[in-house]
Symmetry: C2
Subunit: 877 residues, 2 copies
């Protein structure tokens, strides 16, 4: 007993300590933990209590740590590094297998061709089929979707485990085929998937992972990890992900991104060292350019030319990509055929591309036998290929030999490579497999840069510098510049410059790269949207276009010029009929609630679904049965106490009481048994729910009535049809199991009853109201509106003037205004008189008059109120 006593005492002290410590930590967690400790005290008075305490302590420690951001970020980084490395490894094996097959069959060209072509076709077809079956959301880059998700829009099924599996396997197969596809876009998506799944998994331990804004922050960090572990470029990854996915960026996220991306890149490179691929941690595509004199000042014009040309090229690439998609969509015959055989299009495209790159065939003129990685390594080589236009003295070693053709000049090979790869990449990225376009574009850019560099080297064989020392021109530097410029132009980012430095491990060309990237961006941004924005438009994702730079007319447009003045609203004292009418005509997801139609003071906004459930409750069967029951009771009462003169008043009070019950609790319709609440939600989602009762045999009479209702000429039948047409489903409880009351109402009676119900005033008590929807003032500038919309991820905002609702601006209006003012430069978006409102005095006058009205109204209203002392009496009750 002494032992027991000691243990329990110890446990008691421990429990106290625990309780004290737990009091300090979060409450939610403490409750569960304390109960666990208490459980322990009750049951575990056995001998392994000490051991258990230890376990609990460890568990608690782990749980408390799990909640920290950095644990999450480290796990995410580790996971993504592993995924990236495994994917790279598998891709390398796939590519090696193809080469091995191709090399082994060198006796017969036809067999070689078959092997060269069949392999990618099979892989791509498998990839397309697999993603199509498992998760069609995994198709494509994923950056446009992530941009939309980070904007606050919920895209269904984009962050599930299925999508993760489909994306990883699909991507591996697609890249293993050797097509000109990239892994960087999909990796942004994969990292976000990882983060979403990881945070779901970790929310099993702690409660904080359920917070929405935290989730968005973690997704932003995940995007950085995606790029970071793909290129082993932490800084470039963070910046690229910011530029590509965000409009406004919280600097505190920046931190998270850096931490996770660095860790991820580190692990990714360490894995390569451990696998004996590398001797130490270095850049992915290490260059060995001259350090002391990287380039001459007089070479800068050439770099600028690369930048400008890349700008045009990038715009052309985006345009070509969109053109192909639109062409296939528009050509109905092709479309119909392809839709039937979903896998035919990928197979055909792959066949075409792989046929053209077949090394003994056309491929010999465009270094077709090199994989993407090999091409890039050779293009970034620091030796000059051509001197004085002749490829004679070029020391071809390793893969660089592929660029040499006995008959052709190296320039021709490069031009062919650029031209062919250009349209091939644009075509290949339209295949419905998980794939990105960054890497192919990067390689094309490098080739273009190399071409310019080789030309420069041929033009100035002894370099440009006139100071004595001969510094020959480094065409590899030009390739670096070209790669950064073209990928920057296609994605509309500047951070490709940083990615390039991290990829090559050299920053000596920083100024040429920066200049070229900025010029390329300036050209491309003025011609085309970015590739991701283009895809967003093609996919019709909900987006908000960027304010271009230099479009300063945006500062002069005001909200009042673009807002919709005809706002759908409901008043606090409206009846159900108004609700019904408003629901039929509007289209926004939420509706404004104003005090009254005269005052128009905005009180809040209500979701459409809430209003629909209000209506369905009012017109639903339970309420009708309740009515029947009440009527029967009243009749009985009337029969029994018919001589009592106070009966009318009593019944009135009773009905009021029932009314009150309804307002406080939903289940008060049938006091004996709660109304089944389950069908409410699905019923609201399904538009054709009205027809559902026909399938359920228990509600036969109901069904019959309903069918008649739908065929008769009564107004509420019209009402039902209208609702159906507009996709509004009122809940009509299909389970007619309130058997204690007989539904003996005729159709006419029901119609009359419904009409009566519609005339009642709406009771908003059970309704969830957003009490502070976002409000703008009529004189808010378009620029500020855009800022606020993209900052806060708004869908719409109400425009108020001294508390009065005067308009609404949704994403649509904003988009129109921005696009209108961007594309049609000559057309003014402002109404002719708008400039007169600019002066400060007029606005204050305007406000003053508004206020004056309000004041007048107030005065006239306050007078009668003083005459009614009943109000204060009511309140004091």
């Amino acid at each position: 007993t002494c032992m027991y006593g000691r243990y329990t005492q110890e446990l008691g002290v421990y429990a106290k300590e625990e309780a004290a410590r737990l009091r300090e930590s979060g409450q939610r967690r403490s409750v569960s933990d304390r109960s666990r400790t208490l459980d322990l005290l009750e049951y575990d008075k056995g001998r392994c209590a000490k051991c258990r305490i230890c376990t609990v302590r460890c568990q608690k420690f782990l749980i408390s740590r799990v909640g920290e951001d950095w644990i999450f970020l480290i796990l995410l980084g580790l996971l993504m590094a592993l995924v990236s490395w495994v994917v790279d490894f598998c891709i390398a094996i796939c590519l090696q297998a193809q080469k091995w097959m191709y090399g082994g069959l060198d006796s017969n060209v036809f067999l070689q061709y078959l092997a060269w072509v069949t392999y990618p076709v099979v892989l791509i077809t498998f990839s397309a089929g697999f993603t199509q079956i498992l998760a069609p959301q995994a198709v494509g880059s994923g950056i446009p979707e992530m941009k939309t998700i980070l904007r606050g829009v919920v895209l269904k099924e984009y962050l599930t485990f299925k999508t993760f599996v489909a994306k990883v396997i699909g991507l591996t197969c697609a890249l293993g085929s050797g097509m000109p596809l990239g892994k960087e876009g999909p990796f942004v998506h994969i990292a976000s998937l990882c983060a979403a799944l990881l945070s779901k998994f970790m929310s099993l331990f702690g409660g904080i992972y359920e917070n929405e804004s935290r989730n968005i922050e973690m997704l932003a960090a995940a995007c950085a990890v995606g790029v970071g572990c793909c290129f082993a470029a932490p800084i470039g990854g963070v910046l690229f992900s910011i530029e590509v996915t965000s409009t406004f960026f919280a600097v505190r996220n920046y931190w998270r991104g850096f931490f996770a991306a660095t860790f991820s890149a580190f692990i990714f490179r360490v894995l390569a060292v451990w696998n004996r691929d590398e001797e130490t941690i270095t850049a992915l595509f290490k260059t060995r350019f001259r350090l002391d004199f990287p380039f001459d000042l007089q070479e800068l014009p050439a770099f600028a030319v690369i930048g400008i040309a890349s700008g045009f090229g990038g715009a052309l690439f985006v345009y070509l990509n969109r053109l192909i998609v639109q062409f296939i969509r528009k050509q109905k015959a092709i479309n119909r055929f392809l839709m039937k055989k979903r896998l035919l299009y990928p197979a055909l495209v792959t066949l075409l591309i792989s046929t053209l790159t077949f090394p003994p065939g056309f491929g010999q003129f465009m270094a077709g036998k090199l994989t993407q990685k090999e091409s890039l390594v050779t293009l970034l080589d620091n030796r000059t290929w051509a001197k004085q236009g002749i490829a004679e003295d070029f020391d071809y070693i390793g893969h660089s030999q592929a660029w040499k053709h006995p008959q052709l000049n190296v320039f021709v090979t490069l031009v062919l490579f650029i031209v062919m790869k250009f349209w091939m990449s644009a075509l290949a990225t339209t295949i419905p497999v998980p794939c990105g376009a960054f890497m192919p574009v990067f390689v094309i850019g490098a080739a273009f840069g190399r071409l310019v560099g080789e030309s420069m080297a041929a033009w100035f064989p002894d370099g440009i510098n006139t100071d004595g020392t001969i510094y020959p021109i480094v065409p590899g530097g030009y390739a670096v510049v070209g790669a950064a410029a073209l990928s920057g132009a296609v994605t509309h980012t500047v951070s490709t410059a940083v990615i390039v430095f991290e990829l090559t491990g050299q920053i000596s060309h920083i100024l040429p790269v920066m200049i070229a990237v900025i010029l390329a961006n300036a050209v491309a941004q003025s011609l085309q949207p970015s590739l991701y924005d283009s895809i967003i438009r093609i996919k019709k994702l909900p987006y908000l276009p960027e304010l271009g730079w230099g479009h300063h007319e945006k500062y002069n447009i005001r909200v009042e010029d673009i807002m919709v003045r005809d706002v759908r609203y409901i008043t606090l004292n409206c009846c159900y009929r108004d609700l019904h009418n408003v629901l039929l005509t509007g289209h926004l997801k939420t509706l404004a609630l104003v005090e009254s139609a005269e005052s128009m003071i905005l009180l809040g906004s209500i979701e459409r679904a809430q209003l629909q459930s209000l209506l369905s409750q009012q017109l639903g069967r339970p309420r009708r049965l309740e009515y029947i029951r009440e009527r029967a009771a009243a009749e009985k009462k009337h029969l029994s106490v018919v001589s009592n003169p106070g009966s009318e008043d009593g019944s009135q009070r009773a009905s009021q009481e029932v009314r009150f019950q309804i307002s406080t609790e939903e289940s008060s319709f049938s006091p004996t048994r709660p109304v089944p609440q389950k069908p409410l939600k699905p019923a609201l989602k399904r538009p054709s729910v009205v027809e559902r009762p026909t399938e359920i045999p228990t509600g036969k009479k109901h069904t019959y009535l309903h069918k008649q209702l739908q065929t008769t000429e009564f107004p509420n039948s019209r009402l039902m049809k209208q609702s159906e047409r507009k996709g509004i489903g009122y809940l009509i409880d299909p389970k007619g199991d309130d058997g204690d009351v007989e539904d003996d109402m005729t159709i006419r009676e029901i119609a009359e009853w419904e009409e009566k119900q519609l005339d009642e005033q709406v009771n908003f008590n059970n309704c969830k109201i957003d009490p502070a929807p976002f409000q703008l003032v009529e004189r808010t500038s378009l620029h500020k509106t855009h800022t606020i919309f993209s900052l806060l991820g708004l869908d719409h905002a109400y425009v108020t003037s001294i508390g009065r609702l005067i308009g609404v601006v949704s994403l649509k209006e904003l988009r129109k205004a921005i696009e209108g003012s961007v594309t049609v430069k000559g057309v003014k978006v402002r109404p002719p008189l708008a400039s007169f409102r600019d002066s400060g005095t007029s606005s204050s006058e305007n406000e003053a008059t508004e206020l004056h009205k309000l004041w007048d109204r107030h005065k006239s209203m306050s007078l009668p109120r003083e005459h009614t002392p009943s109000e204060s009496d009511e309140k004091s009750q």
Copy 2:
């Protein structure tokens, strides 16, 4: 005449074309241009019309271009590059002069010492005095101030030309003295000054430079330019400026920053090439580390140690810096003495530091003769100084010789350098001259890294790699890592890593640098605020602390837990007395306007100043004179038409009419001559304005009255005193020149009149009301509140519940809540019952009851309204 005719015709066509073109461009500009063209048509029918047309055309083209952002950014970049280069040039000359003096006097050590010490003392004293006299705002780094300005707070005099001149000249002198000071912080400020001045200058041509949000965007770009042209580091500059100045960053600004910073860095480096300092464009502190094997994987722990140690060091630096400032402030004796002789403190500090660095003295043990730049160059050298602990085989060339001491080990020199420079830099940055702390910290970090690197090199003389090839350890790489880590720790930024790459021109150490910087940040951020935040706190600038990372309790605090429930508000039907009382008790800059005290529906917010002017109008002398005039007129009327029974009604209507006049136009008090409006503004600013009339001889009687007013026991005298105490100045027009009416009211009459005036209802018509102040809901989380406050740069926000004002949150509450939850970890900020509000149902109930009240009120209000048809009649009138 034919000639004339032709010209005019041509001009007419031209004018038409012009008009058509102008119609398309901005209206404001077009008006001025059109008038110019018309002027041309009228006056210039002479022979040089053609020439003039050309000029006008060119001018117009230039003006239209000037409005574009990129012109502005290029000009800014160019200007800043020039400033940076000139400042660098002058600093170099100053330092050379010191060396020359010191070198020339090598015969006499005492003279040498005098020269060594006097030179910096004179320069620093001049710098301190110059900035003190011209613009005291130029003192210090400027980054804290820029952070505050970008947060939306207007700091006076911080962006003026005077400050620009003071900062540039003060900085040049301060750095020319050779003290351990940096130029990077001041350059951020200088670039912002440049941008502000440039935009002011360019607004002479176009109108768009007046937009506030655009100005903020340009300032953000300017900060990037500042860092970019200081270090020739465009990418690092952009990132550093983002991290240091912003909480939320618009990606569209990122673009601007990159563009301007790249251009600026380019010009800055090109100037060096043109000046024959450099052969071509390279990095500022170019390193020549090995490319193929930069570091071994097993060296990473050493890098991590540097990171962690730098984290502690950085926190210590910030703490030391604050300690010194606070010590000097607290020691009243010292403080009083130093305040008298403002230049003594800089002189003393300089004397101390320069004495200690005197090369033949203690300076020989700490490489005292090297300038900051020279030290950095030697520290980043790629050769090893020490092998096996002996500095024998170190090939000392150039400045590196300074590190060698015949008696001392190189390790001791390094340790002494680090320790001495550490406190010297912390001390030197407290001198009131324009100076930054980045560069000194950077150098100390490099020295620390070098120390670790040399130790490693001594420990592993043959390198760590076990694979056969000997790769000796590169201590220069450690120096790079240390520099980035320590400067990152002091400033709480990660982008120092990028700056380091751009400064050295090598990115091969990216992973060690990133790891060290992140570790240093993690340590430093958990110990101390950043140097800039520390200065913000010392200077008591209005700031909002950051949400730390990992402090996830912030997601659980709601606005209702931190808001002030006792809101000062004014109602629409309040009288002037209420206004007066509210002004006396409140402290916020704006006051909430609600519909009525019962409904509490928020209509908008009014600035304090507006209310003060309302009150002063109501109680001011013009109004009283008006009253006297009216009374006199009424008396006359009464005397003349005493028998008319309708007179009372008439006079009432008259007074109402006057009331109406007042409400529409301010000058209607004295219809013959407008009331002088000028003294209104200064009067409101000055708290003691009530006493001002005593100084003006014209208002003698008024003054007398006032003096009496202030001594008598009347309530309004008390009122005056109260106003004085609270710093509220009512305008009492000092010019008593309304001589046409005799101010014959006695004191008692005035008091009575004022009392009567105070009981009148406030007329808000002339008041500027912000109709949509920012609103939060009571359940908004602290995290979201912080986000919104920092996103939108708010000062306060009202908390509403279904349109009803229930509380207010200002920056103060938010700061308290954040700091409370950050520093006192155990204390919960939430009230005990807050967790119960977390579940969804309770909140909707809460909302429902709120709404219920509103609804009841509405019902009770709508009933009497129905009984009063007069209202609608009134409206139809």
